[in-house]
C-alpha cells in the first residue's frame, strides 16, 4: 500500500521554454510581431494604435473612436462591414485602454486574403456617420445607468482620479453628462491624428504562415507617422496618510473596496521582490488576503491585490466586494495583513510555495501561441525584452525573505494608500 499522506517527489522548475515572437519591420515602418502555432487553423491579429484614453481631451473620445471605427467608412456602411466579417465566420472586436487602442481580428487562416484588404479600407477611411454616433451614445448612456448601480464598477470608475488627482491623463472617469458633450468633429480629429496618419503595431498568433505575413505586408504598406509619445514618469505618491473616501449606496448588500498607491515599475531592481510580496499578500488563490478574509472569515467571494503597469505609471491595488456590514472589519484585516508583511519575516515554507507558484504561472502564460503573444505584448509595452523573464525567474529563484520584508516596508504602506469604499461603511 502506498502512503497517500506523502506527496510525490517535487521536481524543481529548472527552465521555462518560451515560444518567442519574431518581429518584422515592413518597409512602411509598421512593426509586425508573430508567433506561429502550426497545429491549428486560426489566426488572431491585433492592430494596436497609440490611441488610449490618456490622449483624449474630452471624456469618452478614445473609446468612441475605437468602437466606431468599424461602424462605417467611405465605401461601406456599418451593416456591410459587420456582414462582411460575420459572413467569413470572423470576429472583429475593438478594445481601448488608458494607453492603447486595438482592433482585434479572430478568423480562420483561409479567410486572411479576403479579410485584410477590406479591413485596411475600413481602418483608413472611417467616416463616423452621425447616426452611428447617436446610436452609440444612446445605447451606452443607458448602459452607464446600469453600471453605476454596480458598486465594483463605481469604485473602478472613481479610483484613478482619487489616486492621481483629476488633471492627470490617467484620471478620466465617466459621468452621465459626458454622453451629451461628444460631437462628430471631436471623433474625426482624434481619428485623423491617432489612427489615420499614425503608424501602428501588429501582433499575430496562431496559424501565421509566411503567406499570412506576406498578405499583411502587401495590404498595410502605407506610411504612417511614428508617434513618440513621452509619458511623464511618475514618482510614488507623497507619503501622506489617506482617509477612506466613502461613496454611499443605499440598500447595498455589499460594499466595493478599492485601495492603491503609485509604485515601482517592472524595470526597477526591487520589482521581483515586490512581485513576490504582492503574490503573498493577494496575488493568488492561496494568498494571505484570500486565506484570511475569504477562507477564514467568509467576508467575501474574492479579494485580490496586484500591480498594474501603465506606460510610465505603475500602481499597486487591493480590491474586493464584501458584505456591507463587514466593510470596516475587512479594511482592518487588509491593514493587518499589510503590516504583517512589513513586521514579520515570511516563512521559508510560504516563500517556497509562492516561488514555485509564480514559476508555474509564468509557464502557463506560454500555453499556446495566443497566451504567448499576450506575454510578448506586455513586454513590448513596457519596453522590455525576453531577458525580463529570464531575470525575473532568476531573481525569484534566489529571493530571500529579508528582501521581501524590505520591499514591503518601502512599497506597501496601508496608511498612505488611497482608499475608496462604495456602498456602506
Amino acid at each position: 500500500m502506498m502512503d497517500r499522506s506523502v506527496a510525490p517527489i517535487q521536481q524543481e522548475i529548472e527552465k521555462i521554454e518560451f515560444a518567442k515572437a519574431q518581429t518584422t519591420i515592413f518597409s512602411s515602418g509598421i512593426q509586425c510581431h508573430s508567433i506561429l502555432q502550426d497545429d491549428c487553423k486560426v489566426v488572431k491579429m491585433e492592430i494596436e494604435f497609440q490611441a488610449g484614453s490618456k490622449f483624449q481631451d474630452k471624456a469618452l473620445i478614445a473609446a468612441m473612436v475605437n468602437n466606431l471605427i468599424l461602424e462605417g467608412c467611405e465605401k461601406y456602411s456599418a451593416y456591410e462591414i459587420a456582414s462582411f466579417f460575420d459572413n467569413e465566420g470572423a470576429f472583429l472586436d475593438t478594445s481601448c485602454s488608458a494607453d492603447k487602442a486595438s482592433v482585434v481580428l479572430h478568423c480562420l487562416e483561409r479567410s486572411i486574403p479576403k479579410l485584410l484588404p477590406y479591413l485596411q479600407e475600413v481602418l483608413s477611411t472611417a467616416n463616423f456617420p452621425q447616426n452611428e454616433i447617436d446610436t452609440y451614445l444612446k445605447i451606452n448612456a443607458q448602459k452607464f445607468e446600469v453600471n453605476r448601480e454596480k458598486v465594483g464598477w463605481v469604485a473602478r470608475n472613481e479610483f484613478m482620479e482619487e489616486l492621481l488627482g483629476e488633471d492627470h491623463p490617467y484620471s478620466w472617469k465617466v459621468s452621465a453628462s459626458n454622453y451629451k458633450e461628444v460631437g462628430r468633429d471631436d471623433l474625426i480629429s482624434f481619428y485623423n491624428k491617432r489612427y489615420k496618419s499614425a503608424t501602428f503595431q501588429v501582433y499575430l498568433s496562431g496559424k501565421v504562415t509566411a503567406e499570412v505575413l506576406q498578405t499583411l505586408e502587401n495590404v498595410f504598406n502605407q506610411k504612417g507617422i511614428q508617434r513618440n509619445d513621452v509619458s511623464d514618469a511618475m514618482t510614488e505618491n507623497e507619503n501622506n496618510v489617506s482617509d477612506v473616501k466613502l461613496i454611499e449606496k443605499k440598500g447595498a448588500i455589499q460594499s466595493a473596496i478599492r485601495l492603491g498607491a503609485v509604485t515601482i515599475n517592472r524595470s526597477h531592481a526591487d520589482f521581483p521582490a515586490l512581485f513576490v510580496a504582492n503574490t503573498i499578500l493577494g496575488g493568488y488563490f492561496g494568498s494571505r488576503l484570500m486565506s484570511n478574509i475569504r477562507e477564514d472569515k467568509g467576508y467575501t467571494y474574492g479579494i485580490g491585490s496586484g500591480v498594474i503597469h501603465l506606460e510610465g505609471l505603475s500602481h499597486f491595488i487591493v480590491s474586493t466586494e464584501v458584505g456591507a456590514e463587514v466593510t470596516a472589519a475587512t479594511l482592518k484585516e487588509i491593514e493587518f495583513e499589510m503590516n504583517q508583511l512589513r513586521n514579520v519575516l515570511v516563512s521559508q515554507e510560504e516563500l517556497k510555495l509562492v516561488k514555485n507558484y509564480i514559476l508555474g504561472n509564468i509557464m502557463k502564460g506560454f500555453d499556446g501561441s495566443f497566451s504567448a503573444m499576450a506575454r510578448f505584448q506586455m513586454l513590448n509595452h513596457q519596453g522590455l525584452g525576453y531577458d525580463y523573464y529570464q531575470n525575473l525567474i532568476q531573481e525569484i529563484k534566489t529571493m530571500k525573505v529579508e528582501k521581501i520584508q524590505a520591499v514591503a516596508r518601502n512599497h506597501m504602506n496601508y496608511s498612505t494608500l488611497k482608499k475608496i469604499v462604495v456602498g456602506k461603511l
Binding site: 460575420d86 446600469v146 466586494e321 508555474g360
Partner: protein, 413 residues
C-alpha cells in the same frame, strides 16, 4: 483534428488523453457527472457548495491548494446544472502531484466543520455579489421556476434561496459525497507533452484502488409539456425596464438542438445579426437585446433578453420582437445568412482547440454529453442544419404557448 486515446479502469473511471507536444504545461481535468439537476428540491445549491468544500482538505492531505501551488500548479472548478468540473494546470514534470491530490479527494474528504462553516459563508457572499447586489442579478432565479414546473432545471446552480445554503448540515455533505463522488461517475481528461503509457500508469497507480460503486440510474422528473404562456411581473430598483422570454427547446442529444442554436445566432450573433441590426440600431426601442440558448444537456431554454430604452412601453417592445420572430417562422432564413452563422460556429470550434486546457476540458465535457469524438465532429452537426430545419424549429420552439415571459420593471423614482 484533436487526437486522443482512452482507457477505463476496473473501478469505472474513464481516462482520455491528448498528447500535445507544444505546450510547457499539462492540463488535468476531472469531471464529475453531478450538477444542480441532481439536487433535492429542498436542498438546492448543494452541488455548487460541495464544489467549494472539495478544497477544504481530503482524507490524507489537509490542504489541496498549498501542495499544488508548491509545485507550480494552479486550479479552479465550476458547477453547472449538469456537471461539476475541476481542472488543474501544472508544469509537466510535476504531473504526479495532480494525481495524488485529485485521487485522494475522490477517495474521501476530511469533512471538517470549519471548512463547512466558512465555505457556507463564502457561497452566501457569492450569492450576494453575483445575484442580489447586481442590477438584474436575480433574473434567472425568477425565470427558471417560471419556465420549469417539475424538472430540476427550475432552480439555478447557486440555489433557490440562501436559506438552503444556511441550513446545509455535515450529514448532507457526507451523503452527497457518497452518492456522487466515485470513479464510475468521473471522467479524467489530460492534455500535455506526456505519453499515453505514462499517463495510464499514473492513473492506475493513484486511482486504481479507489473502491468502485454502481452507477445510479438518473431518474429526473420529466417536465410536462407547457400548454399556455406564463407571465411574471416584478419590480426592482434598476434603471431600465427589462423583458425576458424563455422557450423550451430540445436537449443536446437531439439533432434539432443544433438548428435551434443556429436560430439564436441568426437572431443575435454578431453586429450583422437580425436583432442587432434591425432592433438595436434601426429602432430606438432597446438598450440591449440578445437571443441565446442555455446549452444544457437536457431540454434547455431558448432565451430572448432585452432592456428597453427609457420611455418605451412593453407593448411596443414586444410587438417589435414578435414581428422578427414571425418573420423567421414564415419566411425562414436565406442560404447566405445560414452559411454565415455556420462559419462563425466553425471558427469558434477551431479557437477552442488552441490550448491544452481547452482541449482537456472540451474532451471531458463531450464525453459526458455523448462521446469524446464529439469534440472533433460537433461542428459537422451544425454544418448539416438546413434552412428548412431552422424554419421548422423556429415554428416549433417559438410558439406563444411554449413561452414564459418575465416583465422586470424599473421601480419609479
Amino acid at each position: 483534428m484533436v487526437e486522443f486515446k482512452e482507457h477505463q479502469l476496473k473501478n469505472g473511471l474513464r481516462l482520455i488523453f491528448n498528447e500535445d507536444k507544444t505546450t510547457p504545461i499539462v492540463a488535468f481535468n476531472l469531471l464529475y457527472d453531478v450538477g444542480s439537476k441532481d439536487e433535492d428540491e429542498n436542498k438546492t445549491g448543494f452541488a455548487h457548495l460541495f464544489e467549494h468544500l472539495m478544497f477544504g482538505g481530503s482524507i490524507n492531505i489537509p490542504s489541496f491548494d498549498g501542495p499544488l501551488q508548491t509545485v507550480g500548479g494552479e486550479n479552479n472548478a465550476f458547477t453547472s446544472t449538469d456537471m461539476t468540473n475541476y481542472y488543474i494546470t501544472l508544469p509537466k514534470n510535476n504531473i504526479e502531484t495532480a494525481f495524488w491530490l485529485e485521487s485522494d479527494r475522490m477517495l474521501s474528504l476530511a469533512f471538517s466543520e470549519k471548512s463547512l462553516e466558512v465555505q457556507r459563508q463564502v457561497v452566501i457572499e457569492e450569492f450576494a455579489q453575483r445575484y442580489l447586489n447586481q442590477p438584474y442579478g436575480d433574473v434567472y432565479l425568477l425565470l427558471r421556476p417560471l419556465a420549469y414546473k417539475k424538472h430540476p432545471y427550475r432552480w439555478a446552480t447557486i440555489g433557490k434561496e440562501i436559506k438552503h445554503i444556511e441550513t446545509a448540515t455535515m450529514e448532507d455533505v457526507k451523503a452527497f459525497f457518497k452518492r456522487h463522488y466515485y470513479p464510475g461517475n468521473a471522467i479524467l481528461s489530460i492534455s500535455g507533452n506526456l505519453t499515453f503509457e505514462a499517463v495510464k500508469e499514473l492513473t492506475e497507480k493513484w486511482f486504481g484502488d479507489i473502491p468502485s460503486r454502481k452507477k445510479e440510474l438518473r431518474k429526473l422528473p420529466v417536465e410536462p409539456l407547457q400548454k399556455e404562456e406564463r407571465t411574471l411581473e416584478v419590480e426592482r430598483d434598476v434603471p431600465l425596464n427589462a423583458l425576458y422570454y424563455a422557450y423550451h427547446m430540445p436537449s443536446k442529444n437531439d439533432a434539432d438542438y443544433y438548428a435551434v442554436d443556429l436560430l439564436s445566432d441568426v437572431l443575435s450573433r454578431g453586429d450583422s445579426s437580425r436583432f442587432y441590426e434591425r432592433l438595436l440600431k434601426k429602432t430606438d426601442l432597446f438598450a440591449e437585446i440578445d437571443a441565446f440558448v442555455t446549452g444544457d444537456t437536457e431540454t434547455g431554454l431558448f432565451i430572448i433578453a432585452a432592456k428597453l430604452s427609457a420611455g418605451v412601453r412593453y407593448e411596443q417592445a414586444e410587438a417589435a420582437i414578435d414581428e422578427q420572430l414571425l418573420e423567421i417562422i414564415e419566411k425562414g432564413v436565406g442560404d447566405e445568412e445560414l452559411q454565415k452563422v455556420k462559419n462563425k460556429a466553425e471558427s469558434t470550434f477551431e479557437f477552442g482547440k488552441t490550448s491544452a486546457l481547452n482541449k482537456a476540458m472540451g474532451l471531458a465535457i463531450c464525453a459526458l454529453v455523448k462521446e469524446p469524438e464529439l469534440f472533433n465532429y460537433e461542428f459537422t452537426l451544425y454544418d448539416k442544419v438546413s434552412a428548412e430545419d431552422i424554419q421548422r424549429v423556429a415554428k416549433h420552439v417559438l410558439r406563444r404557448e411554449n413561452r414564459s415571459k418575465l416583465i422586470y420593471k424599473a421601480k419609479k423614482g
